[in-house]
């Protein structure tokens, strides 16, 4: 493989895509002209340029603050988890919840509990936290164990080892965490703008323009949001390259870190119970500290009371179950469809390396795109039916899964193929005997990574477009000021996300060849 050849192929593909897009736009080939030509989009951005500044600045400010705060907390947390593995065990429930939760479900709750701008920054910080925390923690733990022994051998304690060995060793991993975190901060800011009634911000601008039949403006905003996320990624990559001299392709960790220590069974059960209880304790404690009225801010028990013992409980249960019955099947279906498409495409790309080499840079770029934030664009093309939900869910799943699978296929050792080659296997045989069995683990990694994104995609589409399911229930309760339901949906979303996540994990463990 040679780098310049790859770059040329990628460039050709890029130019071809833009030309096709331009032609399709000019001739109004897609859905009656709802896909404008790139030139029209750029022209519209130029026309609207005066409108952009306050929106762009607001989004930038929110994401920058979220980026800084989220990273600071993530690094501190990673250090604590490294120095006291007990704390990681205790926080595991919180970490999985933060990883799996569809962020949009938290927006109304955050808006209730916090001031508008603070709520938006909090969401951006929440999305930043997980990638940086996992990357940093793996960097802190992934050291030459002998160097830590050396520090101990001269009487140094764990803080000495942290200061002299681990912190410095973690810098490259931390930097790659920042690269994932930068676009995540932008996504968080935009999602929060969707749901918080902010006056300024690209999310607000996007929603405000959705009602008007102006595809080129909507696309202009989408392109701008994507560009900001891309610039964030690029800046983080640049800083990483300058400070560590390495720039590796970065993908997000598919799961929270787990200490592999063999625990005593009783202790392990106790820790698991503590890890499950801990998020609820945090929730309760935050509300006690914030001193909000129990009418608008529901504690865990408050939600139980609302859902099971209040006057409204029968109606609430009915609404909730109906919403879940709509949301869960399409989430799982969309995820499977996205995974299947990604798998087939990754296989094709693998069988034809030229395609793979041209495609992979694109796939990597899409990882930095705030895809779900572009839902209004999909609404424009696919309308407000179930189709739009499926399109969004499949595409967020697909892009997340494709990169994992393509990179997974690329990691299969050459020797494995040389062996079957030596017995005269053709391409199909090779795929069947080596590539597909070898990809099993990557498929599960992709599923774990894609699952939360799929749920987010469904809920966003429901919230903004289709008026069905859990996303819609959340939006409605926000409108009706049904505080009990707002908290209930947030809690149920987290529970569903964690349950689905644990389910993929369980299926993985059960079907793992021994």
């Amino acid at each position: 493989m040679n780098g310049s050849g790859n770059r040329a192929a990628t460039l050709v593909l890029l130019v071809a895509l833009i030309v096709i897009w331009e032609i399709a736009g000019q001739l109004q080939l897609v859905a009656g002209g709802t896909l404008p030509a790139p030139s029209a989009i750029l022209a519209r951005i130029f026309v609207d340029r005066a409108d952009y500044w306050p929106h762009v600045l607001a989004t930038l400010r929110t994401s920058a603050a979220g980026f800084v705060i989220g990273n600071a907390i993530a690094i501190l947390a990673a250090i604590c988890f490294c120095v006291w593995p007990f704390s990681e065990r205790l926080m595991r429930g919180v970490n999985i919840a933060i990883f799996a939760v569809p962020p949009i479900a938290l927006v109304p709750v955050l808006v209730i509990a916090l001031d508008g701008e603070v709520a938006r920054i909090t969401l951006a910080a929440l999305l930043v936290y997980f990638p940086t925390m996992t990357a940093t923690l793996s960097g802190l733990n992934d050291i030459d164990p002998r160097t830590a022994d050396l520090i101990s051998a001269y009487g140094g304690g764990r803080f000495r080892a942290l200061r002299m060995v681990r912190l410095r060793a973690a810098v490259p991993a931390m930097m790659s965490g920042f690269q994932v975190a930068a676009p995540a901060a932008v996504l968080g800011a935009i999602l929060a703008e969707f749901g918080s009634g902010a006056r300024w911000g690209l999310g607000t601008y996007l929603l405000g323009s959705l009602g008007r039949a102006e595809p080129d403006r909507l696309w202009g905003i989408g392109v701008t949001a994507t560009a900001i996320a891309g610039v964030g990624y690029g800046l983080a990559a640049l800083v990483a390259r300058m400070t560590t001299g390495v720039n590796r392709a970065v993908t997000m960790a598919p799961e929270p870190p787990q200490a592999g220590d063999a625990e005593h069974r009783m202790r392990s059960i106790a820790m698991t119970i503590a890890a499950i209880a801990f998020p609820f304790l945090v929730w309760q404690a935050l509300l006690v500290i914030s001193q909000l009225s129990p009418i608008i801010a529901k504690t865990p028990l408050g939600v139980v009371d609302y859902l099971f013992f209040s006057n409204a409980s029968a109606v609430a249960q009915q609404k909730l179950l109906a919403a879940l019955a709509e949301t869960i099947p399409i989430t799982i279906g969309g995820m499977f469809l996205g995974l299947a498409i990604a798998f087939v495409l990754a296989l094709i790309a693998f069988a034809a390396p030229t395609i793979m080499n041209a495609l992979l840079p694109f796939a990597l770029i899409t990882q930095t795109m705030p895809l779900v934030a572009l839902t209004p664009l999909a609404v424009l093309i696919f309308g407000r039916g179930v189709a739009v939900t499926l399109v969004i869910t499949v595409s967020v799943t697909f892009f997340a899964a494709f990169v994992v699978l393509a990179q997974g296929f690329a990691l299969i050792p050459r020797a494995a193929f040389d062996l079957v080659d030596a017995y005269g296997a053709n391409t199909v045989k090779k795929l069947w005997l080596v590539a597909i069995p070898a990809s099993r683990n990557w498929l599960f990694v992709a599923a774990r990574l894609a699952m939360p994104k799929a749920l987010l995609g469904v809920m966003i589409a429901e919230w903004l477009a289709t008026g069905r399911g859990l996303g819609n229930l959340l939006n409605q309760s926000r409108g009706y000021l049904d505080y009990g339901m707002i908290w209930t949906v947030a809690l149920v979303s987290v529970l569903v996300a964690v349950a689905l996540y644990q389910l993929t994990y369980a299926v993985d463990r059960m079907t793992r060849p021994r």
Binding site: D149, L150, I151, Y154, G155, R168
Partner: protein, 260 residues
């Protein structure tokens, strides 16, 4: 200054794998008097390195006692009188050669060696000119020599070495053996050397201890009679070979007759 005596007294240690205890060392006693040079030989995985880790306080014995001077290992290592070289160099990749040698001083909080002493140390291990190089720019053998310089830098009274020359080729290894003997003769720290090389053990040590397969017991304790300083051509002397053969046979025996 006198070497620190190192004493293992009825030491036992087991590892737990999936809840099952796997005894590595069972009731082993070994006495390394002040200023002695002991080499430990034994089959792979027999617990040699565990003994060294016990002496460093990196592991705790489950029974018996390990004493360095008149202190526990964890207290002794804080005095800066214990030096260590591991099997792999364990250098910090972002630090230069010089700066890596300073790591023990920083951990101990003791004043760094003078510039002259640093030059001397680096010359000793043949790395003059590489003071500012980083580990990534050095060969495996050079990295190992940095680790040896680092272990000697604090002028230890107890020197613990876990196959420090394992990564070196034969010529370099003999050269380093010669150097180690020279440095050792100057200051005579108590030394425990773990090695796979019978000839290295015989050439360097006053006493070679052969361990059995896991759980480790002492199967032979051989005193090496050669006068110091030992010349390089001792390697070719017939009595050297006889001794090596004898020890080699104990080693063969320990490897196949573990529980007999």
């Amino acid at each position: 200054m006198q070497g620190l005596p190192l004493v293992f007294e009825n030491v036992a240690k087991a590892f737990r794998i999936k809840g099952q205890a796997l005894p590595v060392i069972e009731r082993l006693s070994l006495d390394c008097p002040s200023g002695s040079f002991t080499a430990l030989l034994g089959p792979s995985g027999c617990g040699k390195s565990t003994l060294l880790r016990l002496a460093l306080g990196l592991e705790d014995a489950e029974a018996g006692a390990v004493t360095v001077g008149d202190e526990q290992p964890r207290a002794a290592r804080r005095t800066g009188r214990v030096g260590v070289a591991f099997q792999d160099a364990a250098l910090l990749p972002w630090r230069t050669v010089e700066s890596n040698i300073l790591v023990p001083f920083e951990v101990l909080g003791s004043p760094p060696p003078s510039a002259e002493r640093m030059r001397e140390l680096i010359k000793l291990v043949g790395l003059t000119g590489f003071e500012k190089a980083r580990p990534g720019e050095l060969s495996g053998g050079m990295r190992q020599r940095v680790a040896i310089a680092r272990s000697l830098a604090t002028e230890p009274r107890l020197l613990l070495m876990d196959e420090p020359f394992g990564a070196l080729d034969l010529i370099l290894r003999r050269q380093m053996n010669l150097e180690l003997q020279r440095i050792w003769s100057q200051s005579r720290p108590t030394t425990l050397l773990i090695t796979h090389g019978v000839d290295e053990a015989v050439y360097l040590a006053d006493r070679v201890v052969v361990l059995s397969q896991r759980p480790a017991r002492i199967v032979a304790d051989v005193t090496i009679p050669f006068e110091r300083p030992r010349p390089a051509d001792l390697h070719r002397a017939p009595e050297f070979h006889e001794l090596c053969d004898e020890i080699g046979s104990y080693l063969d025996h320990s490897a196949d007759g573990a529980d007999s």
